[in-house]
């Protein structure tokens, strides 16, 4: 486990005059559960979109799964799964139709996709609802389908952008149980962005982003020790100087 799943050097992004991400140096190890923590607007989603080749960097470089995000976009996208902050499902199609659509976009042959979809639906307890339109599902179920969609092509790296935004506590718990099981099973690298500090506690390492800058980086224990505090919440406060967002999503 010495190769880096993600390697960013001086990565930055501007939107007009707004510096969304300043100069990020970051290495995520293969198999790591990495948390990107920060208040709303800190640059978390921008960072994920840069890694996913949905944005072109304004400066710096990044390699994801060993591929350059600028020159080898297709190879990067082949190696990653991305669960967006807001659902990307077609509400008019059924669960199965959505997953089959994704399987085709990822060029999975039907004979590979079909059994894999069945397994995921069973794992995510969606079998009985498989032929229901997505618009009839609860938020928690939709999220589960989003995640199933994100791992259908068996990526090496999974990005979860604020995955629990808008979910009730029960749905959150079952989502984390699923992610844990996935990681135990496949050694998947997971990069999580969140502004809920407690969600970053189980991460191997955490980076705190604030206003487009890396404010702190380390294991949750290291960060707490360095700041001389007991909770990640206090670490977060110490580094960003402002309290956590109270609102969901965003």
């Amino acid at each position: 486990m010495t190769t880096a799943a993600i390697d960013a050097r001086g990565l930055g992004k501007d939107f007009g005059a707004i510096r969304a991400l300043d100069q990020l140096d970051l290495e995520v190890r293969e198999g790591e559960f990495f948390g990107l923590l920060g208040p709303n607007g800190a640059g978390k989603t921008t960072t994920v979109h840069l890694f996913a080749t949905l944005l072109a960097p304004s400066r710096g470089t990044a390699r994801v799964a060993g591929h350059d995000v600028v020159r080898e976009g297709l190879s990067v996208r082949r190696s990653i799964g991305l669960v967006f902050q807001d659902t990307t499902l077609d509400r008019d199609l059924t669960i199965t139709e959505n997953l089959r659509f994704a399987a085709r976009l990822w060029s999975l042959p039907e004979r590979v996709a079909r059994p894999r979809i069945d397994v995921l639906l069973r794992q995510f307890e969606l079998l009985e609802r498989r032929d229901d339109p997505v618009r009839t599902l609860s938020g928690g179920m939709r999220r589960a389908v989003d995640i199933a969609r994100g791992i259908l092509h068996q990526p090496r790296i999974l990005f979860l952008d604020e995955p629990t935004a808008g979910l009730d506590p029960r749905a959150r718990r079952s989502l984390w149980a699923r992610i844990r099981a996935l990681r135990a099973e496949s050694g998947l690298t997971v990069l999580l962005t969140t502004h809920y500090v407690e969600e970053a506690e189980p991460c191997d390492r955490v980076a705190v982003l604030d206003r487009g800058r890396l404010a702190a980086l380390g294991t949750p224990a290291e960060l707490k020790q360095a700041a001389g505090v007991r909770s990640l919440e206090e670490v977060f406060l110490a580094h960003t100087g402002h309290p956590l967002a109270e609102t969901d999503g965003g």
Binding site: F15, I18, A20, N40, G41, T45, T46, H49, A52, T53, L54, L55, A56, L74, S75, R77, R78, I80, L82, F84, Q85, D86, T87, T88, L89, D90, R91, D92, L93, E97, R100, F101, A102, A103, R104, L105, W106, S107, L108, P109, R149, G250
Partner: protein, 267 residues
């Protein structure tokens, strides 16, 4: 180029269309509304009455209109995909932007062609127009090529316009001039130089002209058939389709296609 991804995009467009009953019925009923209302009015002032029934003259234009509504408006799905987030999922897939543009355009072509075939099956018997086999085949070519050109054009508009409200407004602005300057309702050659020049920048004009070659061959002598060479019509439509596809692919790939929506409301 991933054939499976293209197939996935086309299949989804078709399934979505079939689930929208109102849209299916409207697309089939619309040309008949035009046939009855516009047909009655225009027939009264139409000077070629002795040579050709106006409703027969209108038939190729109405089929062209069906393709226009079918293929051009299919691009609406790209706008709704952007709003619903589906477009982001498509953009993060390991496929080229040109593959997405091709899939969307072929989907639009399929929708336009399917609607035109259904309408042709109902409309042609009603106006007592029986095309020859060669005419029917040329008609199919005309419908498919028009679908490609208009589908690509629709996608260019959809890729450059961000909101549904804007898209609807622009479409209304595009559709009616396009229809009136297509030769669907009256021959383009009667127009002044300027309008005629505009007509020849209109992909639908070539599609309708090709459909007239296909269906009104018997009235060509009297001056109601196609006005331009068949080959020119085909080449013009192909050029519109290819240029449109290239433009749409680059617009879809343009930064902000995904992310500006993703970042909306965020600093």
């Amino acid at each position: 180029m991933s054939a499976r991804a293209v197939y996935g995009i086309v299949a989804r467009e078709f399934v979505r269309f079939l689930r929208q009953r109102g849209r299916v019925l409207a697309s089939i009923g619309r040309p008949f509304v035009w046939l009855v209302f516009a047909g009655a009015g225009f027939a009264a002032v139409f000077t070629g009455r002795n040579q050709i029934d106006y409703r027969v003259y209108m038939a190729p234009g109405l089929l062209g209109m069906v393709v226009m509504f079918g293929s051009l408006l299919a691009a609406l799905s790209t706008v709704t995909d952007r709003e619903a987030g589906v477009l982001r999922m498509v953009l993060v897939a390991p496929i080229r932007r040109s593959t997405i543009a091709l899939g969307k355009t072929l989907g639009a072509t399929l929708l336009g062609t399917a609607q035109a075939l259904v309408v042709a099956g109902l409309l042609l018997p009603v106006v007592h127009l029986r095309p020859t086999l060669a005419g029917a085949l040329l008609g199919l070519v005309a419908v498919v090529l028009s679908g490609l050109a208009l589908g690509a054009l629709g996608l260019v508009l959809a890729a450059s316009i961000r909101s549904i409200e804007n898209f609807a407004g622009v479409m209304n602005f595009v559709i009616f001039p396009m229809l009136f300057l297509s030769g669907a309702l009256y021959p383009v050659r009667h127009l002044g130089v300027v309008l005629r020049a505009v007509a020849y920048a209109n992909p639908l004009a070539y599609g309708v002209d090709l459909l007239k070659h296909a269906l009104l061959g018997a009235w060509a002598e009297a001056g109601y058939g196609g006005e331009l060479p068949v080959l020119l019509d085909c080449v013009a439509l192909a050029v519109f389709a290819i240029v449109g596809l290239a433009l749409a692919a680059s617009l879809l790939g343009r930064e902000g296609g995904v992310t500006r929506t993703a970042l909306r409301g965020r600093p």
